[in-house]
Symmetry: C2
Subunit: 284 residues, 2 copies
């Protein structure tokens, strides 16, 4: 057994065991590595940072998708920015009411390698008639998308370095606002409060989104393989409040079996610790 090690901060590191380094490739955008271990199954990293593993991908993918659908069960048109492993699309496509899903992933190789090595997240995505795949930069895609054309945008991005950088800019959030319709919701990968480097990205994202959307909140979940295990998504919308407007009975009618998400946890996830609220300078 060998160890994949990730530095979480200057004085903290995290290691996962693997038996085989099954793929390594440098694309025009980033370094991609796939590994196979027993406990975490197949996992892959981008530029040396953990993205997805078979043990806990369900946590991230439940939490990026279902809170928005419980807030607005009428969502039909969904744009996924990033999400090349397919897990976010997989959860969205479980809603029979969804009519169209666009995935704008900058690096086609992430998707192709996930199809090859990670069927848990990528299988069946391309074959679904409702899916459209665009292998292009997410910022570029939203720039060219028509006004008010989506009910939901899910930003399933890396950290704001290299290819993920444009997805943490004011211009990107403004374009998202424009392409969302009147009841539109934006969910974005919102980093983490615990380690200073991630907390700085968290605060920056928060301040930019807050300046654009009328309603913005942040919710948390336990993601053990991401730095500190304490990870956040941002919820921004033009009209719906994720707590006041949650439609519990309607969401339950979908009868989706979820391993992490439930509607009690949905509400609980928005109750942040004091130190996180202070870092976010959140009034709510």
């Amino acid at each position: 057994m060998k160890w994949y090690t990730e530095k979480w901060s200057e004085q903290c590191k995290f290691s996962l065991g693997y038996d085989e380094h099954i793929h390594s490739e440098k694309t025009a955008f980033q370094q991609i590595d796939f590994y196979k271990g027993r406990e975490f199954g197949t996992f892959f990293t981008l530029d040396g940072l953990m993205m997805v593993n078979e043990k806990d991908e369900f946590i991230y993918h439940d939490m990026i998708v279902h809170p928005a659908f419980a807030t607005n069960p009428m969502i039909k048109h969904v744009l996924i920015i990033g999400g090349g492993d397919g897990g976010t699309a997989r959860e969205v496509l479980r809603y029979p009411t969804v009519e169209k899903v666009v995935m704008a992933e900058i690096d086609e190789r992430v998707f192709r390698l996930s199809q090859q090595y990670l069927p848990l997240t990528a299988a069946g995505i391309e074959e679904d008639q409702r899916m459209t795949l665009h292998f292009e930069d997410g910022l570029q895609y939203v720039r060219n998308a028509p006004d008010a054309s989506f009910d939901l945008i899910l930003v399933d991005s890396t950290d704001p370095i290299s290819v993920g950088e444009g997805l943490f800019t004011t211009e990107f959030y403004k374009q998202c606002y424009r392409v969302l319709n009147d009841t539109g919701i934006l969910i974005n990968q919102h980093e983490s409060p615990y380690f200073e480097e991630y907390a700085e990205n968290m605060r920056k994202a928060r301040n930019k989104i807050k300046a654009i959307f009328p309603l913005t909140k942040v919710y948390q979940y336990h993601m053990p393989t991401y730095p500190s295990g304490h990870w956040l998504f941002g919820f921004a919308s033009k009209s719906f409040d994720p707590i006041a407007d949650i439609k519990i009975a309607q969401w339950k009618k979908f009868s989706l079996k979820t391993k992490y998400y439930n509607t009690d946890l949905h509400i609980g996830a928005f109750a942040l610790p004091n130190y996180v609220k202070e870092e976010l300078a959140s009034e709510d």
Copy 2:
């Protein structure tokens, strides 16, 4: 800089940097090591497992103490089992309404070394007139304690190995039930759902407590330096429900500044992910 490394599971390990290994000692009960780093400050381990560090001890100590006091702000007599670092006592002693706190810690050296190296958690505890320190086994202590003599018992223990083992037994929980009064609350260190070894301890503790107390729930929090960062406390009581009976206004009157805990988070913390509820076979 050197690295302290802890195995979280067969294929997962976690490392913290330190500059100095300031103390190492084998007592009659366990191996104690104190380290000093920059990012996590001073931290100590028992039998090679992380107990307390200066960066995030506030999370654990807020969450073991304040939910019980928000459920019953009239708590006056408190028994702490374990908790030799002093952090749990520190939070309890912030309530001016508390009249008596007994700490039963099996290993006096943990407390003495914390006084020496970890004033953040241990300073001022022994000097508080309301404190009584008993350096003896927690199980032994409760066996000899009179009926209905405490409002609250906080089990601030290690994992159920070596000295912590007796604190995860049916006999211990039964004795706790006996020494609690009619409105008594028991909070216990409840392990973690993510790694199988910890999850097994979690399930065992749950089943034993459930067979004894009429009301039992489990709540979660983000503790980045404990295995997986997803950690639990058990809430068991003779009469109070931590959600239905929460006294938000009364608790807020204490005007305690807390860095992690707040009453919204209190409620949110009891909303567990589906996979955790299933592991606990929880009906609630």
